[in-house]
């Protein structure tokens, strides 16, 4: 259900496994995060994704369990890559299957918002001016905070 890996992932195969002929699923929402070639004005040639082995998996599981307690989820998939990535590479997949679309959209966005603010991953970007650690974005904090009620 949850994987942290250096290799790329195949969205179609992940969705196929989630559906696995379960006819109770009416809605499948997926999010794929991709490396952009420009971030806050910096041209990105590549990036390095570091994480905290052990805590990462634990933290992602807690986020998924929180989503499961909040919405009736029939299947969930979270795959996050680590290591060196270049523009257009896939970084993360979050996919959620439910009976109804409202639940699937909400749960998928909830998991992404918490992943962004709670899961111990860090990005270091390589630009023509050198490399730097990406700063946490205030908008990500606000996005996660709106689920807190």
């Amino acid at each position: 259900m949850i994987r942290v890996q250096q290799e790329d992932f195949d969205v179609a195969e992940e969705l196929r496994q989630m559906r696995a002929a379960n006819p109770a699923i009416g809605a499948l929402v997926s999010f794929v995060g991709l490396v952009r070639d420009l971030n806050e004005g910096n041209a990105i040639s590549c990036m390095m994704l570091e994480h905290y082995p052990g805590m990462t998996e634990k933290s992602l599981l807690q986020i998924v369990v929180a989503a499961q307690q909040r919405w009736p989820l029939l299947a969930v998939r979270v795959v996050h890559r680590i290591g060196p990535l270049v523009p257009c590479d896939q970084i993360v997949l979050v996919a959620v299957a439910c009976a109804h679309r409202g639940d699937a959209f909400a749960a998928c966005e909830f998991i992404m918002d918490y992943l962004k603010t709670k899961a111990p991953f860090w990005k270091k970007e390589q630009t023509p001016a050198g490399s730097h650690w990406v700063d946490a974005r205030e908008t990500d904090g606000r996005a996660a905070a709106r689920w807190e009620n």
């Binding site: 570091e50 905290y52 805590m55 996050h80 992404m112 111990p120």
Partner: protein, 85 residues
Amino acid sequence: MKCQILYFARMREVFATPAEEVALPDSVRTIADLLNWLRARGEPWCSELAAGKTFRVALNQEMASLDQILTDAAEVAIFPPVTGG
């Protein structure tokens, strides 16, 4: 008390190590005490862990607050705010 300290991302680079094993005096009981003990080493701990700096601490792989009590053989991690996804 013994403790494993892990550093990630910018912290790992600035402290030039991903991890260290420390033997703490009895006076170090909480996360806040541990941070003070590290700051007392001087630079770069002193600046990087200064009160105005933004960093996070996890205790045994859970996000921790300053007043949490350290346990023997605890795994403490110090890192910048996360930026995955």
